[in-house]
Symmetry: C2
Subunit: 546 residues, 2 copies
């Protein structure tokens, strides 16, 4: 580890090098981002997924700073968990810092955390590293990439980006900075692979404004736009369009309200105070003068839009004449929930626009031609596709190859795979774990393979507990058997089955020895219940000797 530079993507379920990346040299490490993932559908009962930082915990003093590329959850959301184990100063642009502060205040960690604002273009020295941030366009303002001067050369991490020539907030990607790095010579480029499946260019956010304009021109009743709470630019687009069409803005949903408040305070949302409706005005103003922004694009059951669609919202319920825009695409895995929400909105008679009908959303990630431009601007010696699922990395790597980067200089890796750089070049190092940790309630990491497997089994066929008390001396049954079962059969209609099961237990115990009573009960019932139902509930015998 002496004079080797090490780059390690950490954390992620499915996606590689998205939520956290570590760069280290000798006894100094810096991290880029600290985000959380949303649980995949087979992570039953799991609330959140955060990066596994056990590698960093081996030498917690080495970590000298966490740098943030932008303020989305999957880049800042793991901070409340990570900062409880590991302290380090944070470096972020103003808006990103604002979003981090909202989060840390809620977690009561704000006072204990050292945070530095780092404007695009700022340089920070951390041990052997000089970190410079440069502005990039993404679907949230104040996004940056990072150029890290290391003893072995310049490492460029793009964060997440697209080359939007007409961004909502007006600020272009810093092409000059990227070209400058390319001229100086880039040792390694870590670049956003998310859209490596998409040919061509990702459309500008401007396209969404044009769609909003069309919809606002047509709509006669209320307009309800749902988007991610962190998508401050999208909120600005709604505000601009509302102003144009003499509508005032209602902000609905806790996270949306908080983010809008913070973004207004920091000057990332342009609107007069009068533009915003007070909660009570939501119901009193004529529908034609109201535009509402809220969350719920993913069909999340507790989100504002879903509650509106289920007629369960305190303030706003969908009615005939409403126009609803879902300004996002479903994240894979959320399609069923999104479709159900759409169907409910249609049932209530709303006019609904979503990504299949109109360009109400554009991706925040570079498509293939932009990815090629990024490689062409920076001219890296080594190329590390990052921030995508494995197939995206492979496809991104193919683009790199097409642009002339030698295959052996491209590293398609999994999370936790160390890539080492020294004077001889670069190579794969050890694997250091670096997958993910599941969070369930207050527990971090205690729900692993075993508990998840049990939840799977329980979710499929439920369980059966059999309790029986035997006389210690005579081995006769003196109480029971009692059967408790859930998730297996509808107990009220299964009395015969349960009675038969009890008889079998009694019979089995009469013929067996008490030492093997539990095994006897389990085997007897497993066979019987499977034969009768073709289901395999988990079976737990409890034999008491009294």
């Amino acid at each position: 580890m002496t004079d080797t530079l090490r780059i390690i993507p950490l954390g992620g379920a499915g996606e590689v090098g998205k939520n956290m990346t570590v760069v280290e040299f000798e006894e100094t490490a810096i991290a880029i981002d600290c985000g959380l993932m949303f649980p995949q559908s087979d992570m039953l009962g799991i609330d959140l997924v955060v990066p596994d930082i056990s590698y960093l915990m081996e030498a917690p003093d080495y970590l000298k700073g966490i740098f943030f590329t932008h303020g989305h959850e999957d880049h800042i959301g793991a901070l409340p968990y990570v900062l409880r184990q590991l302290q380090a100063p944070l470096y972020a642009t103003r808006l990103t810092r604002g979003l981090i502060e909202v989060k840390l205040r809620e977690a009561r960690l704000l006072d204990a955390t050292e945070i530095h604002t780092m404007a695009p273009g700022d340089r920070v020295q951390v041990g052997p590293f000089t970190v410079e941030s440069f502005h990039l366009c993404h679907s949230i303002p104040d996004s940056v990439g990072l150029a890290i001067d290391t003893p072995h050369g310049l490492v460029v991490h793009t964060g997440e980006y697209k080359f939007d020539y007409t961004p909502v907030h007006g600020r272009l990607t810093d092409y000059a900075a990227l070209a400058g790095y390319g001229r100086r010579g880039v040792l390694a480029l870590l670049s956003d692979s998310t859209n490596a499946e998409r040919p061509g260019y990702t459309p500008s956010e401007r396209l969404v404004s044009e769609t909003f304009e069309r919809v606002f021109s047509r709509a006669k009743g209320r307009i309800i736009v749902s988007t991610f709470a962190s998508n401050i630019s999208r909120v600005q687009q709604v505000i601009d369009c509302a102003l144009q069409h003499n509508r005032r803005i209602g902000v609905v949903g806790r996270s949306m309200v908080e983010n809008v408040r913070m973004a207004r305070k920091l000057g990332y949302l342009t609107a007069t105070d009068e533009m915003f409706l007070r909660p009570e005005e939501l119901e009193t103003l004529p529908p034609s003068q109201v535009a509402i922004v809220c969350t719920g694009t993913q069909g999340e059951p507790t989100s504002a839009l879903v509650r509106m669609a289920n007629q369960e919202h305190r303030q706003v319920n969908i009615q005939q004449g409403d126009t609803v825009i879902l300004s996002a695409t479903p994240i894979p895995g959320n399609e069923e929930l999104v479709h159900r929400t759409l169907d409910n909105l249609f049932r209530l008679g709303a006019t609904v626009y979503y990504h299949r009908l109109l360009p109400v959303h554009v991706s925040g990630h570079a498509s293939q031609e932009e990815q090629k431009m990024m490689i062409s601007l920076t001219q890296p010696r080594y190329f590390i596709p990052a921030g995508g699922e494995y197939r995206h990395l492979v496809l991104h790597a193919q683009l790199g190859k097409e642009l002339g980067i030698p295959e052996e200089n491209i590293f398609v890796v999994e999370n936790g795979q160390v890539i080492e750089f020294d004077d001889e070049g670069a190579r794969l190092g050890e694997r250091v774990g670096g997958g993910h940790v599941l969070i369930d309630g207050l527990g971090i990491g205690d729900v692993g393979e075993v508990v998840l497997r049990d939840r799977h089994l329980l979710s499929r066929d439920g369980f059966v507990v059999v309790v029986v008390a035997l006389d210690e001396a005579s081995e006769e049954i003196i109480e029971g058997p009692h059967i408790i079962s859930r998730g297996f059969v509808y107990m009220r209609d299964a009395e015969d089955l349960i009675e038969e099961a009890k008889s079998l237990v009694i019979e089995a115990l009469a013929n067996g020895h008490r030492d093997t009573a539990s095994a006897l009960i389990r085997d007897t019932l497993a066979e019987f219940l499977y034969r009768r139902t073709r289901r395999r509930p988990m079976i737990f015998p409890v034999v008491l000797e009294v």
Copy 2:
């Protein structure tokens, strides 16, 4: 019910009027299709979903025939369940009949079932109805729509279709029949709404052949094409391309083998015997001479492709040099499984083509311009969008309105909603249920709301059973408390928590009365466990008195 014609979409979870539709007049009912649905992701542990036929069961003698539009699972798959409750002659085209027979043979119902072959153009008299079938293009050969002459006029049911001008099997949609119905006058049109979100025309199956041709020209190693087992046309496309490129065909996977055998027997697949590889040849022939067709496009864990991608297949395991085509799009809800499969294929070094990269699949359903053509050809007086989720029906209805059908003549309904026709016109009738029934193992319909809710709770936070034996006289604990728990915490690491829980139970029992012992235990533990873990396992106290 005397001289009213009734049309009732039955069955479906999410989709309306897709899996089964009933047409009845006086004491004669006919059904169109009898398909199953795949469980939605919140139907935990459910194997299959079939239409709720309780309405038909009220007068089982009324049902005089089931007519089939095509042989896909969601149109024939519920037969083994429905025919156990309700007998009726089946009417199907040759290939559809073949697929039905495979299914009924497996269910040992074939001998007891009366099946009639009905070629496109054939007419069948059933009571007051004359049913004529007409050929339509879909993603399976031998698809038909049905024109039903009723005492109140002609009802046209399109089944599923697109207007493919260059279908693989060479047989065009019977435009003349459709125009003829229009000229005669159509009372009601039930038309496929699936793609009502899609503007323009659905591309021809020919496009897929062109893509296959490009991929086969490039590939040097084995080619593995995965598709639905029922997609006989797609298999023919692979065969044609393989023949062109001097490759022989391996058919892998039980359902694929069965369907291919049946389709060859009936003449729906054109290929010499020599084209097909014997299982042992799969491994001995040079890779450049092999093309394999298999299932697995939806990432189904037990499918051939997924087992190949996990290196767990008996005959074929993916290796560097293989080219894999996923010739389908993910059904909503399956995205995560499909992505995982893709990533695994990429990890093994295969070259993988899927819908995001190449047109390896086209939809089998009409897009908006075709839907408009269908309405224009048939000129229905009443229009019933069918075979889609609710939003699709609404969007399809909007197309109908644009084409001049009066709004009051368009029926967007849910499953089980009767639509009545008589000399006065048409109107909504009663709701007759007609949702779906869940099948889990051998049980049909016994898993309902209650069991599913319990499975949900169990899948989120597991359960805790507390068993304690009290002395009948003294109320003292003479055995226990024992705690059994799964899916809640990792028990090995939670000894302290469990011990503390036991102490709390003992304490609670010491202070309480035995009549309330169970409630005491439940409340005490619920509060304690939530406070300590923020999880809410299901808690079951068992108090024995001995």
